[in-house]
């Protein structure tokens, strides 16, 4: 359950960037290769925001797909599975996208 501390980090970061501001919504980007479960973050969010200026805020999560580059056959391919195998069978791949864990934006009142 690293999602609890991740969610706490999200809320801390928002409160640090926008102190004394009532927040109505938070938009996150959690890539499919990030190792973070969006549903767990949603579950933790309401617990973590209680009693803060984010209380009652809506949470939107974008879940971009993964993309990787195969070093052996020099092609790019889509991958949403954590076992990063190129269609050619090689495991020698570099992840290009899908590991993001970012706060995109917030809605302020």
């Amino acid at each position: 359950m690293h999602e609890l501390s991740i969610t706490q980090s999200v809320v801390d970061a928002v409160l640090e960037r926008l102190p004394d501001t009532k927040i109505a919504g938070v938009r996150l980007e959690i890539g499919k290769l990030s190792g973070i479960m969006p549903d767990s973050v949603r579950f933790c969010f309401d617990l973590v925001i209680a009693g803060t200026l984010l209380e009652g805020a809506r949470l939107d999560i974008d879940e971009p797909s993964g993309r990787a580059h195969c070093v052996d056959c020099d092609t790019e391919f889509a991958v949403d599975d954590l076992i990063l195998l190129c269609p050619c069978g090689s495991a020698n791949v570099e992840v290009l996208a899908g590991r993001q864990l970012r706060i995109r934006s917030v809605e302020v009142v």
């Binding site: 359950m1 690293h2 501390s5 980090s9 954590l82 917030v106 809605e107």
Partner: protein
């Protein structure tokens, strides 16, 4: 009524773009730890495994084998108790216990505080024994020079594919309890092949922390890393 938040008032919401990495704060603190360690020519390794794979037993053995040659000190991470720090201190090695409470992993801030308390000597090795867990610790940079994963043969050879993040993040895999191989079904070749599906260049060192088989290779790995690192 406001359509966005349903608060009963008529008002405009404003979008503020943040584009901030959630782990940025942890990564920043880890960066400081890395500098702090480099300034003191200290090799720090982050030891991770499921509970019971033999992290503390391997550490006890490592400390005994390196006694008089290389100073080792330890940061112990567990949810509760001082058990592991007590075991390490019984070998004569300095140890700091961090209890994470509800937390399932160590983070860079906990390690920063642990390092200040431990105050390890120059030109030494610090082993950070993470909370027994094959999931969460993989995500958090502590400022270590290398991430090590221990798997024991009693856990089964399917661990790399079940916990891919951990094995992708690792710099070295230690396969422990090899003295039990005659008594359990564990396909070493499959284990190594699966680990390399996730991490093509990963080295796997088989060893038995209790019987000593393979421990010399592990100690050589540590000596070489310390030489390269400092």
């Amino acid at each position: 009524m406001c359509a966005t938040c349903g608060c009963g008032e008529t008002h405009e919401h404003r979008t503020v773009v943040l584009e901030q990495d959630v782990l940025a704060k942890n990564d920043h603190l880890a960066h400081h730890n890395r500098h702090w360690l480099a300034d003191r020519r200290i090799l720090a390794v982050n030891l991770m495994s499921s509970p019971g794979a033999g992290k503390t037993t391997l550490l006890e053995r490592t400390i005994r084998e390196l006694a008089g040659e290389l100073p080792v000190s330890v940061i112990e991470g567990d949810q509760e108790t001082q058990f592991d720090a007590d075991r390490i201190r019984a070998t004569g090695c300095p140890a700091v216990q961090i209890n994470t409470g509800a937390g399932c992993h160590l983070d860079a801030d906990m390690v920063a505080r642990g390092l200040r308390e431990l105050d390890p000597p120059l030109d030494s090795i610090v082993v950070i024994e993470n909370v027994g867990n094959l999931v969460c610790p993989a995500l958090f940079d502590l400022g270590e020079a290398a991430k090590l994963v221990i798997t024991s043969v009693t856990e089964g050879a399917d661990k790399p594919l079940k916990y891919p993040h951990m094995f992708r993040a690792a710099d070295l895999v230690l396969l422990n309890k090899t003295d039990l191989l005659p008594y359990v079904e564990f396909d070493v070749d499959r284990f190594v092949a699966d680990a390399r599906k996730l991490n093509p260049d990963i080295a796997v060192l088989p060893l038995s922390a209790t019987r000593g088989e393979g421990v010399a290779d592990w100690l050589d790995w540590l000596r070489k890393r310390l030489a390269v690192h400092t």
